[in-house]
Symmetry: C3
Subunit: 419 residues, 3 copies
């Protein structure tokens, strides 16, 4: 094998690992975002959920998820099933001059993919926060990461029927974000709103999060991690064209997020009269979700517009869901579900290979698959072990009910107050 082939393989592999490490960091981002947006009494529990869901995602994807998504399939709808990663014979294939040999380590690919699964699951934890039982949540996590996510992932990224139908989803506005949003919506519908969120006469009571700096930190972490999420999804960097493509993805990802912040900030200013920090944060995330389905083909100007529309959309979506009494403490369904759909549609604005019909096919397939299977799984868990904490547990806080450790034992005067 020539030295340049070796170097190219090494550079692409290293690029995957660095991008994967950035995506892994998003787990911390979701954790901080959610910990900042819940009340103090539910903080330890959301922290526990987040680190545990990341761990479960890694275990389940190693156990079977990756193989379902990328293994030998039965046909373009039904994936195959096998357990644990096979031996890595990449090097033998490359060194033998095999034309089909991968140009980067398949273990690096696994690492990059596994952190995506965790991202999808992280979306759910925010939406069901402050009232779902810890162990019910973790049980759902096992099924989503080991089965629901990999199946639809196979349909698109594993070469299944959505891919064959021309559905485009560069880094996962649909495969990852809409999946998370749809699973969250199913959970929230079965779970109901937090006590006191919606008053008897139709009023909507704001329940402010306990720690805004944490929520902001989480958003910045996610923004940083997204360079890995989108940038790594180009899947190659080792020649001029690919290096330029990855650079374009970075620039557009950043531009969309920035435009999302400003659009959401201004929209909220007009609607509420104040500079609403949580809307600005959700605007950043909405911009990022919106550009994720196609961060390569737009110009930076168009990317800004795609992100800005995401930022506007998220404000209206959050307000609308509240009117529908769909209680989502962190806005995850709006940010990832609603804006994820916008991202899938926006692909047609710049990518000549995209068709609206294929995008809608992908959108509704993912939405239907994830929402229906999730609803079934949540319902089974509800029947078996219950999904909602007791009324007393909710009043006193999840931390005492599930974890036995307070998040801020010295800062909140009256422990377990309804505050």
């Amino acid at each position: 094998v020539e030295a340049t082939t070796q170097l190219s393989y090494a550079l692409d592999t290293f690029y995957f690992l660095v991008m994967g490490a950035l995506v892994m960091w998003m787990a911390a981002g979701f954790t901080m975002l959610e910990a900042g947006l819940v009340r103090a009494k539910n903080t330890t529990e959301i922290l526990t959920k987040n680190i545990a869901l990341y761990a479960i995602s890694c275990v389940m994807y190693l156990l079977c998820g990756y193989n379902i998504m990328y293994g030998d399939s039965i046909n373009s709808v039904i994936p195959g099933i096998s357990f644990l990663l096979g031996p890595d014979n990449t090097a033998e294939a490359v060194l033998a001059g095999d034309d089909d040999a991968p140009y980067y380590s398949n273990l690096a690919d696994f690492f990059f993919q596994v952190v995506f699964v965790a991202t999808a699951m992280s979306i759910v934890s925010g939406a069901v926060a402050e009232r779902m039982k810890l162990w019910a949540f973790l049980s759902f996590c096992v099924i989503l990461t080991g089965f629901i996510y990999p199946v639809q992932g196979f349909w698109k990224w594993g070469g299944g029927f959505l891919d064959q139908a021309g559905f485009l989803d560069f880094a996962g506005s649909g495969v990852v974000h809409l999946t998370g949003g749809a699973a969250a919506l199913a959970g929230v519908l079965l779970l109901g709103a937090r006590k006191g969120k919606y008053g008897p006469n139709g009023q909507i009571n704001p329940i402010p999060g306990a720690n805004m700096p944490l929520a902001t930190l989480g958003t910045f972490i996610l923004w940083l991690g997204w360079f890995g999420f989108n940038g790594g999804s180009e899947l190659k960097v080792s020649n001029i064209m690919e290096a330029n493509a990855v650079s374009m993805v970075f620039v557009n990802t950043n531009a969309a997020a920035a435009a999302g912040v400003l659009a959401a900030l201004i929209t909220a200013r007009i609607m509420f009269g104040k500079a609403d920090l949580t809307m600005a944060l959700n605007g950043a995330l909405a911009g990022l979700v919106a550009i994720t389905a196609e961060p390569l083909t737009p110009s930076p100007g168009l990317a800004s517009i795609v992100g800005a529309i995401g930022g506007i959309l998220v404000v209206f979506s959050i307000v609308t869901l509240d009117k529908l009494k769909i209680d989502d403490p962190v806005g995850a369904i709006s940010v990832h579900g609603v804006v994820g759909m916008w991202g899938l549609i926006a692909v047609v604005l710049s990518n000549p290979d995209a068709t609206l019909s294929a995008q809608l096919l992908g959108l509704f397939t993912i939405l239907a698959w994830v929402f229906i299977t999730s609803l079934i799984v949540w319902a089974i868990i509800k029947a078996v072990m219950g999904i909602r904490v007791s009324e007393e547990g909710e009043f006193e806080g999840m931390d005492l009910a599930d974890c036995g450790i307070e998040a801020y034992p010295e800062f909140t005067g009256s422990h377990g107050s309804g505050k």
Copy 2:
């Protein structure tokens, strides 16, 4: 094109993107640092300012800043003006064997540069914290990032007259940090001190920050990001000499920061009798700012000395500014302005190409340009919409006045207290 040219281009581009991602992370660092050093009642507002200024920086630099700084200029003093990035024809140029073809993606360069602008602007938000109106601040941000910064950036990094005069500023002790410090000083002079900071009989009242762990986290984030800031400013890594140079920059950057911590800690211990954490944090940043103008040519030992002097200087500067009743809640003017000047001068200690006269020319040019234009812009904003919140708003806190969301609603017993 040969395979090695392709690989070299890809490696340099990837290096730019990774370094740029680290610099982007500094936005989170400034946010956490400032959020930790203000009082609880002004925290949501400083968070909002920081994420919004990052977003505005990205939009303005895309819209016109980058073109002013690096586009076709009229002469060595007056830059050109054009809007939005042109099409990326890097690949064509390289593949055509054009001798002037860039050796890395110009989009990667844009990404790296855009995060520098945000750094300069982040410096300002700390100095004017706890009393400046949000929208006045954001208006200034538009002008600084779209015009004031790019013009002086053109003078040095865009090949303008400061560059031609032999002024050296490797990664921006002047172009970035002194710029931020000078703009901040202009703002603070027009704005005045926080209520209660300086007593009628000359006493200086400490106003402790609400959250030391956040401030420390912010400092560590900045330290990490600085490896991208300085390391990426070598602009190339893909051969032996350049790889060694980037390594030297990393080692010296780290050494200067470490020495800055210890120098500031010991200086403060001698002066105040205590181990002052905020001085240690500012010492780290001062060490980093000091080495930024020349992190390549010093030995690690000399880099430590340059950083240590920065660490000592920052303590004296903070004390002195307080005596002058220039109220800077986070010490930004001292860290970035005063130590930035030291950094520019320190170049002559190790770089044989540097002259004191050229360094002073650059220093005073940047200082004068940024200070005067900023003073004018702040004055116009003051006349049009006012820059200072009402006395009641300041007493109750910026969070309620501007944002309507408290940062820590459950932790501070008496909301909006003067505390």
Copy 3:
């Protein structure tokens, strides 16, 4: 020199720098972890300790540590001594076609190594938290980072007698983590437990940490940084075999941590009946420490088992140390010392070159060397300046006693309360 040699050198150097930056980030991780697990009144002091210890580590390792560890030695037991880094003549050697020439910058190597020293020292600060004098701690830091650590590092990684005896320690379960744990144990034994931790009738009083989100953030930071810690310890990435090896290290490191979380969470659930967040966090770290001695040769399945055993072990170790009245506020001795030993032994499960006898030789040599020298140094410091704060200082909090700045002045109603 051929272009491919240049590129290979550049890629390996860049890889070292990126991995080193990730390890440097671990300093922030330890800081946040420890700041979250102590009480509010001791938080500023632990923050000060952490940033100062990082700075001291960098200065001492530059001054003499690196030269002791990797310089010309007297024999395989006694290292040499010299000061400051020599000039970097890497480029000359490579360009001259020297066969022994390094394949990457020795400055990049220094950067990577220096952040390891700080990691070892970070382990100590957590164990002695809430009662050790700041300046006594920093004095010990000078000796550990400048002498104790480098000597045993020389024995293994510098090619000394442990290396010659076949002792294997890929990234430092022993050289770094057991070293930190042993030094911490020596300090804790001389220091005694915190007031009120152990009651007169044998009861063990929990002293909850003040800020669980910080502790969780710290754990995620460490998890991310560990990809650099283990991934960089492969020392090369620039060909197919090495790129695959680094990928395997990433996958195994992540798998072990994930399994550690779940194992500790379940173990604690069985033992205590609750989902214990701090045990989950320690489980993640235990999984990481356990896999650090050999993250390359296990399959991901075996890596998960090694990590899971680490996660179980850490729960039992923490409970046992408490029964022995060895007071370790953050569990550092268990995580890094006890699980570090497990990691060293676990090498024999997958690496055919490992022998149990060589592993035990290395384990006991490091343990004995570090524990005994640390005990002596702590004892000298105790005799000279004392190591424990006054009873009043401990009651009021280290922040007031040593630092004069409260960490959260607005959140804790009764400053300096025993709470």
